[in-house]
Symmetry: C2
Subunit: 524 residues, 2 copies
């Protein structure tokens, strides 16, 4: 199933244009395609556009033909479905627009037998991904794990080259396409069961105080490929190595300020976020966090990343930034915030980002409601330098030639990152060259951060003197501890879960000093 999904998303489709000079037939030509199931990226569930929906009323092709003007509205038919796209046409008067969410406009079915008569009009599939940006130099900075949706992790050596990860090197984890946004029409809706308010992009920036925090973001699936092991099996999902993480300055307004301004901070247990990235059934990416986190911590509605307006891959115009929590809750392209007694009713909150018990070998085997949605990150560390340029799916012995600086100083430099969840500061990172028997204390680069507000990652460095390096292959292990003594498990054995989430076992690389370098006798 996954293979087929990848194949479908990898196809390139021609962009489609809709103008206001429409007839039902013409629109149908632009909007739809030959019969092709669109497979939902996360659920593996096929959504077939225009399939008969028994609960809807029936309209004939003659009915459809009556709706081709502004006065009468614009209808169209596709396969067995009848659609009223008047509101779409009205809100997209000309220009390069695309109707990506056709099922949203569905009003009825054609009579049995009329589908065939209409079939010739449907030629093309919508390319949901046509607004995904061009990604320059992507293969220089990233290991690209999938094109559609776009999932790319930062190469390890790039990760530790600066304390703040440049935007163009920051990992990208999209669950669907990048949505098109017309900033003049963009509204952020905020509400609960009783009331809904809305803010324009400018309202939000003008009416609330801005804050800037430095925070890491890490995908719950980071280091997933390190969870695969022979004893317990291979885990399911994007096979991230250590690069689904980054550290940036985020500027925005405090979610708590916005909630308080509408008196929305008094009731409810969860704050739900939904993005503009919706599938063809108008199911949008969504997630939620507990209201305590929303009110007490530095949760932002962010509009800048590293002091620049957000790029489209990182959520332009607005994204949520929930520091200390798995990246999945930091919803991009956010346009709805809902205060509720319930968690967000989305696949990603209710099922996907949950650590299932080790005994579960198929995600279908479990009642998801009994498993909590992941919130806080656990304590994590990884070795990024030296690092192979491959994708780290398997531990390989890296052949390393020390760099000039190291040769001069007769040492081998080891670098990596560490991070804990919930605002807990990293206290120490130790490395071991003897499988954990003795540990060496690394030097930390970290920010002074308030108690329980250590959102930034920590970078660490250790210099191994040449004399301490074996000439044959050897392993380096790293492990971190936070200031509250949370630490990493030795192996994935105790944390293995079929979705491969939250792997924070000790990270290990295997090294040997480059043979040619040894021959040149610079080593001894």
């Amino acid at each position: 199933m996954r293979l087929r999904l990848t194949f479908l998303f990898r196809q390139r489709f021609t962009s489609q244009i809709i103008t206001t000079s429409l007839t039902g037939g013409l629109i149908a030509g632009y909007l739809f395609s030959k019969y092709k199931p669109i497979v939902h990226a996360e659920t593996d569930k096929s959504i077939i556009i225009g399939e008969r929906i028994p609960t809807l009323p029936t309209y004939s092709m003659a009915d459809v033909a009556k709706h081709t003007t502004k006065e009468n509205g614009y209808w169209l038919a596709f396969r067995d479905g009848v659609y009223d796209i008047s509101s779409f046409v009205e809100s997209h008067p000309g220009g390069k627009q695309i109707l990506k969410t056709v099922e949203h406009y569905r009003i009825g079915n054609l009579p049995l037998g009329e589908r065939e008569a209409n079939e010739n009009n449907q030629e093309e599939v919508i390319d949901l991904f046509q607004y995904d940006p061009e990604r320059l130099n992507a293969i220089e900075n990233f290991f690209i794990r999938s094109e559609k949706p776009y999932n790319a992790e930062t190469k390890p050596s790039m990760l530790i080259s600066s304390f703040l990860t440049p935007v163009e090197k920051f990992y990208i984890r999209n669950h669907m396409h990048v949505p098109f946004v017309n900033i003049n029409q963009y509204k952020l809706e905020i509400g609960n069961e009783k009331s809904t308010y809305s803010l324009s992009y400018d309202d939000l920036k003008d009416k609330y105080q801005s804050y800037t925090i430095t925070s890491a973001l890490q995908c719950a699936g980071n280091r997933r490929n390190g969870m695969n092991n022979e004893q317990q099996g291979t885990v399911q999902g994007t096979q991230w190595y250590v690069g689904a993480i980054g550290n940036a300055r985020w500027t925005g307004v405090k979610l708590s300020d916005v909630l308080k301004s509408f008196d929305l901070d008094k009731e409810g247990k969860h704050i739900q976020f939904f993005g503009l990235d919706c599938d063809t059934s108008q199911r949008c990416y969504g997630a939620s966090i507990p209201i305590e986190k929303a009110l007490n911590d530095d949760v932002l509605i962010a509009y800048k990343m590293n002091d620049e307006i957000l790029t489209s891959d990182h959520g332009y115009p607005l994204r949520i930034l929930v520091p200390g929590i798995v990246g999945a809750r930091s919803v991009k392209w956010v346009n709805r915030i809902i205060v509720s007694d319930k968690e967000a009713d989305s696949h990603w909150q209710k099922a996907d980002y949950k650590v299932l018990p080790s005994s579960i070998k198929q995600p279908q085997q479990i009642d998801y409601d009994n498993v909590p949605a992941i919130q806080e990150l656990n304590v994590q560390s990884a070795i990024c330098y030296p690092a192979s340029n491959d994708d780290g799916n398997k531990i390989k012995i890296l052949s390393v030639k020390p760099n000039d600086d190291d040769i001069k100083n007769r040492r081998l430099t080891i670098k990596g990152y560490a991070l804990s969840g919930g605002g807990r500061q990293i206290h120490n990172v130790q490395i071991s060259l003897d499988h954990g028997k003795t540990w060496l204390q690394t030097e930390l680069e970290q920010l002074a951060q308030p108690y329980m507000r250590a959102w930034s990652w920590t970078l660490w460095t250790y210099h191994i003197p040449f004399n301490d390096i074996p000439s044959k292959p050897f392993d380096i292990i790293c492990r971190a501890m936070d200031t509250h003594t949370n630490s990493q498990p030795d192996t994935p054995l105790g944390i293995w879960n079929i979705r491969g989430l939250m792997n924070n076992a000790w990270h290990k690389i295997s090294l040997q000093i480059d043979e040619n370098f040894l021959k040149e006798k610079k080593f001894k």
Copy 2:
């Protein structure tokens, strides 16, 4: 040094009585003893009472003899020291009182040469521990790790016999003696650098709303003896097995309410607590917590444990109860609360309860200021049943005869506890019979607790069917995960520290079914 300490504290001394009909000579006879160093329990530092203090003035025996009345005050001499104990005598008018903290009353030295003339009067040492209560049935409930100070851990099988640990079975971790408290004179001082306020016991109970929470308490040294290993060595400190933990209902007033009532919640970074358990140099047990924890969470000034007035071993009349945090910060017999920019200036805050890097083999080797004081607990679990009655210093193979209920149901019941820090709920506890390759999900007994306020422990149970039990010895491992995916390390290798603190490696016991039981063929 530690051996000698134990020896000294183990001696029994006769209780001493002071009455108001005193002369300097008489008082000296009751208060002091032959020359004996009193070794400070935690610092291993000898304090010699009556030793010459060069900075103090000199008073002759003739001077001392003038102070034997209420008008002139009560002085006395001991070795080279001169003491004014008027305030002590005044506040203890008759009755069974004892001057435990003699150096506090020190005002000067005798002239050189006069010490010998006075020496004959000094016969007895003060028994700091004379107000330690009688502990009935202690060896039934506890493994007693030291008598003076009294340190006793609950036997594993007792631990899991009820969700709330009965007071008489709750572990006791005293750093010094149990102080004598006259409740009519007891005052709780609360203040900062500018002002100090005080509350009587009744004031505190009458003026503030009472709250009850269920919270576990766990010593940072719990499971210390499991950290010893051949590769890394033996750790220093009381060799606790798995029983320095308990779970109780605590009733008291909120620390935050008290701080707010005196307007003490606006400044400062730490809340310091000091107890009435002071050594002979008036150094009292002390600890502190960050003000954020004090203001936001359910930190109590507690007066009841399991709905009964606190016992003297658990801090009568008042103790601090900091849920989610190592037991060391829940100061017993508290009589001073100080809001400050600094942590408590006590050995136990500044040095003792800190996790040193693994590379440190002697606590003296490190600058303690660079190591954070432990606050939140990490995620923990242990197997308590079946359990041997020995102290678990070494893993031994337990020979188990299933109980009647298990025989009837053809199963072996395994039970234990789990707990995480900072209010994070336990999500699952798994056990493994094959060294971590496959895991079995246990059944949890836990309270529904608000987000990030899961202060209670979780008990867990698993029934292994007889058919799944090998007839030869086998290991059972347990490990817990909290709702934020924090988990336990496989071994102590990555968390080893010379003080043996915060050991939360997987807990393992080795079992075999009792031979006689097998012979009776009830097993198959």
